[in-house]
Structure formats: structure tokens, C-alpha cells
């Protein structure tokens, strides 16, 4: 049952990819094709680009990424809890409250440390 359920999803994945590829290729047939050095140069407001445009990520974004992973995993834990919540009663409420409390302390710590400030 488990994997068979996903057969239409897999099919949709293939079909939508195929559909977009077809549309893109139609355009390749109709459109002109005469690339020049000027035309293919990366746009930089009319200046000659200096150096490659593959640079390192500022560390700020990395912090946000870590915070995101933390909270996204939290959500994954939350989902099954939300489904069976009615059956768990008071116990479920207290346990999840504790879990959220620990995470919120983390968020407050990061905030007070200044990780969320953008200068």
C-alpha cells in the first residue's frame, strides 16, 4: 500500500518535467541562435564582469539555515503528534509544551546573541 500510493506522484513528476522540457524545446526550434561574446557575457549593468560570480555565502545566511533546519525538524516531530493529539490528552499537551519550551529557549538565545540582527 505504502509505495503504490506514490505511483501517481512519480508519474506526475515525470509528466510535468516532460511537459516543461517540451515547451522549452519548442522555443529552441523557433528562436534565433546567434550568440556573440557580448551577448553571452553576464549582465553587470554594462560593465565588464570582474572575476567569477561564484562567491562564498556570508555567515549570516548560514546561521539562518541552521535555525531553519532546527525548526523544520521540529515540525516533522509535530505532525504525527498533531494527528493523534486527541487520544493523548493532558500528557500529550505537557510533553509537547516542554519540547516547544526547549526550542523557544534556543530561539531566544539566538536572538539575544544577535544572530537575527542585520546591520
Amino acid at each position: 500500500m505504502a509505495l503504490e500510493q506514490f505511483a501517481p506522484v512519480g508519474m506526475l513528476l515525470l509528466l510535468s518535467t516532460g511537459l516543461v522540457l517540451i515547451i522549452l524545446n519548442i522555443s529552441a526550434v523557433f528562436g534565433p541562435k546567434n550568440p556573440t561574446t557580448r551577448k553571452t557575457a553576464p549582465y553587470e549593468s554594462g560593465m565588464k564582469p570582474i572575476g567569477p560570480a561564484v562567491r562564498r555565502l556570508p555567515v549570516k545566511f548560514y546561521l539562518i539555515g541552521v535555525l531553519f533546519i532546527l525548526f523544520d525538524i521540529e515540525v516533522i516531530f509535530f505532525l504525527p503528534w498533531a494527528v493523534v493529539f486527541r487520544g493523548l490528552g493532558f500528557y500529550g499537551l505537557i510533553v509537547m509544551g516542554l519540547f516547544v519550551f526547549i526550542l523557544t529557549v534556543g530561539l531566544i538565545y539566538e536572538w539575544k546573541k544577535g544572530a537575527l540582527e542585520w546591520e
Binding site: 541562435k33 550568440p35 560570480a53 562567491r55
Partner: protein, 404 residues
């Protein structure tokens, strides 16, 4: 086997009347269904381009497209034909594979969401038991495509755009998923059909308006449109991540974006305003599609209004708004709703028949009161904080001004 309900019994019909083998019949039926699910949003998008341009024009006191066809309705087709004749440029030094894959991923990510959306009571792409989780997973693929585009373009503007995407899109996914948890909790099911069916008695938007608000705002941010369109801020980054794309590839990014906005409207309809539920749906299932699209259109127009009426926010405001407002509020909201549901059960206010409107009123009132209390509390905290900030600013400003 009678073949009256052709859509749902397509496979058995085929094998019975034409003598096709069961496997092939199943395969054909799935392919046909998937084809409809994949092309329907694309067709809607063509109309949406016209709606969007006309709406924006009216807001800005212009007329908008009115030359091609009646009311300019054929304008999107003219645009597509024009874009088909454009040259497809790949910038020098670009990572060709990733550069070309990015628009495909963009459209695919949005189309995949449609797999779990219940269009009518009987027509669902797939009624996955983990529909909500599937949505959270698939919705993040769009982020990936923007990062791919920015990274592979070999352009500094594009790269800066994709940096901001890392910050913005992944940040707003947190309140989005947390707000999504509330309907899951109320319905006691992760399946999208289960969530819609649980709203037969009462729409969730009346029970938990705060969650609906949080979901709406963060899904608007997820599409990367104004007032959250930092990833393509024209005035600073020219066009952001899609700057190097031309012709049909650029069109694919735009189609993906338009579709995403409408998909968000559909999701709002499914999760908070009862999806296909409406009068006479039991008799005529196809009426459900009309209700769903009507509800989705209202949410869609609301997001268009938001886009056209509000100015763009700064990146620091954007991040603070998310981490210090949306995330804490959605966490408190989640715990509050859990607590209120516990209270409702202890007091015995749960409806005996969840499908009955009148029996749903007591628990709706309790949840609504909790939401209003949360809203007032949040607004008080915000007002006090900003008042303190303003006073501190004034006290430091005054001596300096007196010195002038």
C-alpha cells in the same frame, strides 16, 4: 461493471468493455488523471496572467491589456508566441546543466503540490495519508530551483538574489508549516481529503483565524512576491535570480510564480475554507470544483491586492518580522489551540456529529475567543515595545536638537 461514473471507474471499464489487461488499464487511467492534474494549473495560469495584469492596471489607474481579443483576453497567448520566438541565451561561464534544469524544477515543484489537492469529493490526484507532510516537503523544492538559478547563472546580481532566497524562503517555511499543523490537529488527519471533510460542519477559518492569517502571510512570502519580493528587487538587484534567463525559460519562472500564487489560494481554500464543500456537492460532485475555484479566487484576489497595495519591506525588517513575530506567534498559537482543544474535551463541548453546523458552534466560540485573546495579547506586546523604542529615541534626540 457499469460505466456511468467514467472518471473513477475508468480502469475497470477499460478492462471490461475493451478487454485490455488490468495492469495496462490501471496504467492508462493513472496517466490520464495525472495528465489532467498537470495541465489544469498550466491552463489556469494563462488566464491568471490576464487577471493579474488587469488587476494591477486597475489599481494603478490604468486600463491594462485591451487590444488582443475581447477585453484583451488573448494577450497571454500573444505573449507566449512572442516568447517562443526569442533567442535562448546561456551566459558564458554558466553551469549549463543546473542553469537549464532550474526552470523545469520551478514549474515541477508547483505542479507536484496539485497531486494531493482534492478537486471534488471524488476526484483527487492521490489521497495520500501524509498529504500535509507531502506538501511541506514538496513546497521546499521551489526554493531549491531559485538557488540553482542564482548559483549557476555566473552573475553577481543573480547570486545576491539567491543569497536572499536562502534567508527569506527557508525562514518563512517555518511559520507556514507551523500554521499548517493547526488544521491537521483540528481534523486529526494529515490527509487533505480528511481535512476538507472535517470542515463540513464549520470552516476552520472561523475557528482559528490566526492560523489562517499566518498561513496566508507566510505563503505569500514563499512565492517571493511583493511585499516580500526581495529576491528579485528590481531597484537593487535588477531582476534577482532570473536576470540571465531569456525567452521561454524566463516565461517558465513566471508561470511557476503565477501558478504558485494560485496554488496558495487553493491551499487556503482547502485548509481553512472548506475546499469543495458547499450545497448540493453530494449530488453533483463536479460542483465541488466550482466551489473550490471560487474560494481559491477570493484568496488569490486578496493576495493580488496585497501585492499591489503594499511597499516592499527591507531585508532586516523581513527577517525580524519572521523570527520575532510570525514564528513565536505561530508557536504560541499551536500550543493555545492544543490547550483549547483539551479544554473543549474536558468541558464536553465537542459536537456529537461533527458534520452538523449548530453542534459545532460551542467549540468554535471557545477557539475563536482564544484566538481573539492571542491577537489582543500580541498587539499589546508589539505596541508596548514600539512605544518604548519611540520614547527612547525621543529622549536621545531632544538634547541634540536643543543644541542646534
Amino acid at each position: 461493471m457499469e460505466c456511468r461514473d467514467i472518471i473513477n471507474t475508468f480502469a475497470p471499464c477499460l478492462s471490461d468493455t475493451l478487454g485490455v489487461s488490468t495492469d495496462l488499464a490501471n496504467f492508462l487511467s493513472i496517466t490520464l488523471g495525472v495528465l489532467i492534474v498537470a495541465t489544469f494549473p498550466l491552463l489556469v495560469t494563462i488566464l491568471l496572467i490576464w487577471v493579474e495584469r488587469k488587476f494591477a492596471a486597475r489599481v494603478q489607474d490604468r486600463i491594462g491589456p485591451n487590444r488582443v481579443g475581447p477585453f484583451g483576453l488573448f494577450q497571454p497567448f500573444a505573449d507566449v508566441i512572442k516568447l517562443l520566438g526569442k533567442e535562448d541565451i546561456t551566459p558564458a561561464g554558466a553551469d549549463k546543466w543546473i542553469y537549464n534544469a532550474s526552470p523545469v524544477v520551478m514549474v515541477m515543484a508547483v505542479l507536484l503540490i496539485w497531486a494531493v489537492i482534492p478537486l471534488t469529493p471524488v476526484h483527487v490526484g492521490v489521497d495520500l495519508e501524509i498529504g500535509a507532510l507531502y506538501f511541506v516537503a514538496v513546497a521546499s523544492i521551489g526554493t531549491l530551483s531559485v538557488i540553482m538559478a542564482g548559483w549557476a547563472s555566473n552573475n553577481k546580481y543573480a547570486l545576491l538574489g539567491s543569497f536572499r532566497v536562502v534567508a527569506q524562503l527557508i525562514s518563512y517555511e517555518v511559520p507556514l508549516a507551523l500554521a499548517l499543523l493547526v488544521p491537521v490537529m483540528l481534523a486529526g488527519s494529515m490527509s487533505m481529503v480528511g481535512i476538507v471533510e472535517a470542515q463540513t460542519g464549520m470552516w476552520f477559518v472561523f475557528m482559528v483565524p490566526v492560523s489562517a492569517f499566518l498561513f496566508f502571510i507566510s505563503s505569500q512570502a514563499e512565492t517571493g512576491r511583493a511585499p516580500f519580493d526581495l529576491l528579485e528587487a528590481e531597484s537593487e538587484l535588477v531582476a534577482g535570480f532570473n536576470i540571465e534567463y531569456s525567452g521561454m525559460k524566463f516565461a517558465m519562472f513566471f508561470a511557476g510564480e503565477f501558478m504558485h500564487v494560485f496554488t496558495n489560494g487553493v491551499l487556503m481554500a482547502v485548509l481553512f475554507t472548506g475546499g469543495y464543500i458547499g450545497p448540493f456537492v453530494d449530488q453533483i460532485p463536479l460542483l465541488g470544483l466550482v466551489y473550490l475555484l471560487a474560494k481559491a479566487s477570493i484568496w488569490y484576489l486578496l493576495s493580488l491586492l496585497m501585492r499591489n497595495a503594499l511597499p516592499r519591506v527591507r531585508i532586516d525588517q523581513l527577517m525580524l518580522f519572521n523570527w520575532l513575530f510570525l514564528v513565536p506567534v505561530s508557536i504560541i498559537n499551536l500550543i493555545l489551540v492544543a490547550f483549547l482543544m483539551f479544554v473543549i474535551r474536558e468541558l464536553g463541548l465537542q459536537p456529537d456529529d461533527p458534520r452538523d453546523f449548530v453542534q459545532n458552534i460551542p467549540q468554535t466560540v471557545v477557539l475563536l475567543l482564544g484566538n481573539v485573546a492571542l491577537l489582543i495579547g500580541t498587539l499589546t506586546v508589539i505596541r508596548n515595545r514600539f512605544r518604548a523604542e519611540r520614547l527612547a529615541e525621543q529622549s536621545t534626540m531632544l538634547p541634540a536638537q536643543a543644541g542646534d
